[in-house]
């Protein structure tokens, strides 16, 4: 697990001002005007003058810094930060936040903690707080992301609750990262207002995908999972409006006790009603947040829903819909649908178990969320030979 956030850090030379978003450099050899905007990761070599910030692995390095240098001691982060990564340094909260890593394909910006759903298995439980400052930070970070980045993501909370500022963020991604794909996680409800959807379409982002959850072909079962009455109708109308506005949509289904029973029905429903969606992701549980608290009521062992998953994948892919299985271990996915399983868990929170030792499929396997302490299939075993 790679720690992207750290608090209670030791700052030196910095007044407790509000957070700054900066690019990281491992190289000492930078133009002075650039150095003044960057943070230098102090290694074993000489420490140059002129960087805006210095990131230290140990308090002992402090004496090697230039006079009046601003520094933070963040040993865990200096281990993995790379050239061009983007971080927020926050002396007021004694924190740093790694916002973007150039060598990772998984870069998601959390835009808000607020949400109008309250999902049973939410890995990022919502909080009703004024978090507008996050938007400012992300807007700044987007400008610093390497322009050859392949993909970035927006997540939440529910990003569309930001209203106009949501469009500001999408526009920023479109403008500053003209070659970078943008993937946004949203419950889609806000787009049931067709004008809101049209506004997103009008930005004309070059490579945008909206990831939207649909948990059942029956409204009340979906509403139960997201704990919001009327959410289903809004989400479906939102998907229709987005597609009508030319925005690509991915449907995301979390595989849990409440959804697996009617999974084949849901697949039929999607094939019949939403054939025009661009991708369907069937996703294993991420056992953090509410999911951890509610584990008993939401957990269903993958080996117990293998049949439903297989039927759903065949219906969807048979209808010509691009289909993926996320977050599931290959040894518990039926062999005939293994080609649909992706290595989907972000590197910073991905791990394997001792049982995986000797597995020949390990390199292709999504593995586990590092947070997994319970919620492991009883059928985890190494894949050896043709098994």
């Amino acid at each position: 697990m790679i720690p992207l956030r750290a608090r209670a850090l030791e700052f030196r030379g910095a007044s407790p001002a509000s957070a700054e978003v900066i690019r990281v450099s491992l190289s000492a050899d930078r133009p002075a005007i650039i150095k003044a905007q960057e943070g230098f990761v102090v290694g074993t070599g000489p420490v140059p003058e002129g960087f805006a910030w210095y990131l230290l692995g140990s308090v002992d390095d402090f004496q090697r810094l230039p006079i009046d240098a601003r520094a933070v001691i963040a040993p865990a982060q200096t281990m993995f930060l790379g050239q061009g990564d983007v971080i927020a340094v926050d002396p007021l909260r004694k924190a740093i936040r790694v916002l973007y890593r150039g060598n990772s394909p998984y870069n998601h910006f959390l835009l808000t903690e607020r949400c109008n759903n309250y999902c049973l298995m939410c890995s990022q439980p919502p909080r009703d707080v004024d978090d507008n400052w996050i938007v400012d930070e992300v807007l700044r970070a987007i400008q610093l992301v390497r322009r050859d980045a392949v993909e970035i993501g927006f997540t939440g909370g529910e990003p569309t609750l930001l209203g106009e500022r949501f469009f500001e963020l999408v526009q920023a991604a479109a403008s500053h990262l003209p070659g970078t794909a943008l993937h946004i996680l949203s419950n889609g409800r806000r787009f049931s207002d067709g004008e809101f959807a049209a506004k997103l379409g009008a930005i004309g982002h070059h490579d945008l995908m909206m990831g939207i959850p649909v948990y059942s072909d029956l409204a009340h079962l979906h509403d139960h999972v997201v704990q919001a009455d009327g959410a289903y109708d809004e989400t479906i109308r939102g998907i229709l409006a987005l597609k009508a506005s030319g925005v690509r949509v991915e449907i995301r289904v979390v595989l849990q006790a409440q959804t697996v029973g009617r999974l084949p029905h849901l697949a039929q429903f999607i094939a019949r009603n939403l054939l025009f969606v661009d991708h369907v992701a069937l996703m294993g549980l991420e056992p953090t947040g509410f999911a951890r608290a509610n584990m008993e009521s939401i957990w269903c062992d993958p080996v117990d829903y293998a049949h439903q998953l297989s039927a759903a994948v065949k219906t969807l892919s048979g209808a010509g819909i691009r289909t993926s299985i996320y977050n599931s271990q290959l040894c518990v996915v039926p062999a005939d649908i293994r080609p649909y399983a992706r290595r989907s868990i972000s590197d910073w929170k991905q791990t394997y178990l001792p049982e995986c030792e000797g597995c020949e499929a390990k390199r292709e396997c999504a593995g586990f969320f590092a947070s997994v302490t319970h919620g492991r299939s009883r059928a985890i075993r190494p894949i050896v030979g043709a098994s």
């Binding site: 956030r5 924190a95 998601h108 909080r127 009455d229 054939l275 953090t288 509410f290 048979g318 209808a319």
Partner: protein, 503 residues
């Protein structure tokens, strides 16, 4: 302290007790449900009924459940309630997004209508060296030029082709034996491609040929111009040659040889074959299918015999009853299903097209199963003499002396005269199955067609009395036969879903 959660202020989550149970979100029972448009028709003698919604999503229900639902007495707790709700037979206090989705599905179904005519059939000659008794158009002596389409007629016809707004245009060359007038085919292809440089349509060509006169010149031309070949193959040699006499009695040998040569030059998938069913076919469906297997085709279209042209004159149409054809058909279908069970992929195309309508939101381009009918607006025929017909069957009817579906002439009439004239619009509007007695209340209507030409030919009016209609009998039996097989066996259902998506 290091926290590795995604939020800057994440605190460990306490055990939350704020979650509500599923029942709390189900307001289905708050008030009576509202039925959306739906219909039902008996499936079989076992008290089972087929119910369809507005766009043809179906459920098989027992009589009691159907009755309860229709009388507004079906309880939300009844397992059928959820299935009816998920397939948009009803809305209730819980959800009404079904209305939006139904509207979208209706639009999806009807959207192709706006594209207008995609298939344009050119009868480049009536000459043919075969003399098939079932032939549906007059054959003519081999070397008489008077039955060839002229250059002027071809060019005038192309004017009309490019008036169609369809983004995809397919030009099919028919006869007689189309390759007997290869020079005109070449002219039409060249001229169509020239016009398409500015028209920018998705342009495709098909040559329908018996392959008996296929020479290297024709093949090289098809290869160079990317033209597909469609041929006739009625079954094993004895049957094929009996059905399709020609001097030398070698029709089958020439067809098979032509298929191999055409595949060799054009590629395997660019050569298709169609069979025609005759009374001699009826007791050998397996042999016919085996012939298609032997020749490495991926499927077969088990076709009914149409009632036009020589087929009626020679009484071959009456020679077997519609029931006998259905036996033939289902014997063949079950044989093909058994082949698939053995792991051998093979499609029956008639079923596949019907299943596509039943199991997907999409439509097929099969003209016989369209409502509004496909005449004129999906496919149109330019006869060798410049007469424009509403369909291939229409010109066969004309060859028998009935000009009802002659829409005009390329030399005399404008696009508007032809497409907006009563000869086309009257049968189209009258026969629309959604408003026709017998069809409007039939559960199978969303999958069925209008076929005004067939009903005119057999009953003298484009609508016809459906209980007397062989088209109706055949289609109903087909729908019931397919549903019964799906209901009885999940493997068959999976196979049918596969076919539906491939059709």
């Amino acid at each position: 302290m290091i926290l590795s959660l995604a939020s800057p202020f994440q605190r460990p989550v306490c055990r939350v007790a704020k979650f509500r149970e599923a029942e709390a979100f189900d307001s289905s029972a708050n008030a009576a449900y509202t039925m959306l448009p739906w219909r039902f028709t008996a499936l079989d003698g076992n008290d089972r009924y087929v119910a369809t919604n507005l766009v043809g999503e179906h459920l098989v229900l027992d009589r009691e459940t159907i009755g309860k639902f229709a009388r507004q007495e079906l309880a939300p707790a009844d397992p059928a309630y959820d299935e009816l709700k998920a397939r948009h037979f009803l809305i209730d206090d819980d959800t009404n997004v079904a209305v939006d989705l139904l509207a979208l599905k209706v639009r999806t179904k009807l959207a192709p209508l706006a594209n207008f005519t995609a298939l344009h059939i050119f009868v480049v000659t009536l000459r043919c060296e075969h003399s098939c008794p079932y032939c549906q158009v007059s054959r003519a002596n081999n070397d008489r030029g008077e039955f060839d389409m002229s250059r002027e007629t071809a060019l005038k016809s192309l004017d009309l082709v490019f008036r169609s707004p369809s983004p995809a245009l397919k030009i099919e060359f028919q006869g007689g034996e189309s390759l007997l007038n290869l020079p005109l085919i070449k002219l039409i292809v060249e001229e169509a491609k020239r016009r398409n440089e500015t028209a920018r349509r998705e342009l495709a060509f098909v040559v329908a040929t018996n392959l008996a006169v296929l020479d290297d010149e024709a093949l090289a031309f098809c290869k160079a111009e990317n033209i597909l070949v469609s041929t006739s193959l009625d079954g094993p040699a004895e049957l094929h040659n009996a059905n399709r006499p020609r001097p030398g009695r070698d029709s089958h040998e020439r067809a098979v040889d032509g298929i191999h040569r055409a595949r060799g030059v054009l590629g395997h998938y660019n050569v298709g074959a169609l069979m025609t069913t005759t009374s001699a076919s009826l007791n050998q469906v397996k042999a016919i299918i085996d012939e298609y297997l032997r020749l490495d085709f991926g499927g077969i279209f088990l076709r009914p015999l149409s009632p036009y042209g020589f087929a009626i004159k020679t009484k071959s149409y009456a020679a077997y009853s519609r029931e006998r054809w259905l036996e033939f058909y289902f014997e063949g279908l079950d044989y093909i299903i058994s082949l698939n069970r053995q792991g051998f992929d093979f499609i029956e195309h008639y079923a596949a097209m019907v299943l596509k309508k039943m199991l997907t939101p999409l439509q097929t381009s099969y003209v016989d199963l369209m409502s509004p009918a496909g005449i004129g607006i999906a496919a149109i025929v330019y006869n060798y003499d410049g007469t424009v017909y509403a369909s291939d069957e229409s010109r066969m009817l004309a060859e028998m002396g009935d000009q009802t579906f002659a829409l005009g002439n390329v030399h005399r009439d404008s696009f508007e005269d032809i497409m907006l004239g009563d000869a086309l619009l009257e049968p189209l509007t009258q026969s629309f199955a959604g408003s026709v007695p017998g069809c409007s209340s039939c559960a199978f209507e969303p999958w069925c067609g209008a076929d005004p030409v067939f009903h005119h030919a057999t009953q003298g009016d484009p609508v016809g009395k459906k209980p007397l209609s062989a088209f109706c009998t055949r289609s109903m039996a087909l729908f019931r036969g397919l549903i019964t097989r799906m209901e009885a066996d999940d493997d068959v259902r999976a196979l049918f879903e596969k076919w539906a998506n491939r059709a």
